[in-house]
Symmetry: C2
Amino acid sequence: MRARPYATTNPHRLAAALLQVAARSGLDSASVREVASEAGVSIGAVQHHFPTKDEMLAFAFRALADRVLGRLSSTDPDIDPSRTLFAALSQLLPLDEQRASEAQVMAAFAVRAATSPPLGAIRHATLFTMRTGLSAVLIRMGTPEPETRATLLLAAVNGLALDAIASPALYPPEFLTHSLHTQIQLALADG
Amino acid sequence: MRARPYATTNPHRLAAALLQVAARSGLDSASVREVASEAGVSIGAVQHHFPTKDEMLAFAFRALADRVLGRLSSTDPDIDPSRTLFAALSQLLPLDEQRASEAQVMAAFAVRAATSPPLGAIRHATLFTMRTGLSAVLIRMGTPEPETRATLLLAAVNGLALDAIASPALYPPEFLTHSLHTQIQLALADG
C-alpha cells in the first residue's frame, strides 16, 4: 500500500490558510511557502493541489467571493425592504473581526484583479451578481433609476470598506452602520 | 573633482517610475530592482535615495496623494455647487488613462495601508483632508447630515473606482460620470 502524503490537506483548507495569511500580512505575503507553513503542510502538498500561485489565488478568491455572496443571498427578506438591503450589504462592511478580514482580502483581490485576467473574471462575475441582485430589489420597489442606484449602493459599501480597513479610527462600526443606513435611505428616495 | 553618480536622478523621478511599474504590473512588482530599471538608473542610485522599500513606497504614496489632492483643491468653484463637487470628485474616477492609472495605484496603496502603519498614516491623512473638504461644501449649502453625506460621496467615488479598475466593461466612463452625478444629487437632496 502506498503512502498518500496529500491526504492530510485539501484545496479548501489551503484557501482558508491563504486568507489568514493575507488578512494578517497582505496578499503579497501569501506565497506557496507561507500558505504551506500556515496550513502545517509541505510546499509539495500545496503544489500538488495548486501547480501555480495564480491557480491558488484564483481558487481562494472564488471561495471567498462564494462565501460572501452566499451570505448576501441568504438574507431573510424583511417586510421593510430597507432592512433587507441593510442585512445584505452590512455583510460587506468590516463590522466585526471576520468581516474586517474578509473586507481587507476582498479589496486586495479587487486591486490584484486589475492586472490579472483570471482574477478579473472572478471579480467581474461577483460584482455583476451583486449589482443584479440589488437592482432586482429596487426594481420591485419601483425606485427611480434602479440600475444606477444599485451600483451606487454597492460602490458606497465597497468604498466604505476600503476606506475603513486602512483608517479604522475614522470609520468606527457605529459610523459605518449609520452611513449604510443613510445611503439606503438616499437610494430609496423618490425623484 | 569627484563623480556624482546619483545626480542623474531624484526621488520624484523614482516615485514616478514606481507609479508606472505599479500601474502596469501591480504594486507588488514595484521592487527596488524594477524601479531602477524603469527609471534607467542603478539599484544603488535607488538605494541612495530610499534605503528601504518601505521608504520608497511611502514617498511615492505621498507624492501621488499630494498630486490628486492638489487637483481636488484647485477645482474652480462653480455657481452651481453640484458642478463644483462633480469637478472635484471626477478627479478620483478612472475616466481617462492617467486617472485610471492613479485610481489603480491609489487603491493598491489603500489596501497595503491596512497592514503597513506608515502607509496607513498617509491614507488616514488623505481621507481626512478629503472628507473635511467635502463636509465644508455641504455645510455651506445647509445639507442635512453633512459629515455622513460627505463620507458617502467619498466612499461612493472610491468604491466606483475600485469596482471599475477590475471590471471596466461593467463601468464605462459615461456610466461612471452618470453615477457620480446621481450620487451628488442624492447627497444634496433635502430630508
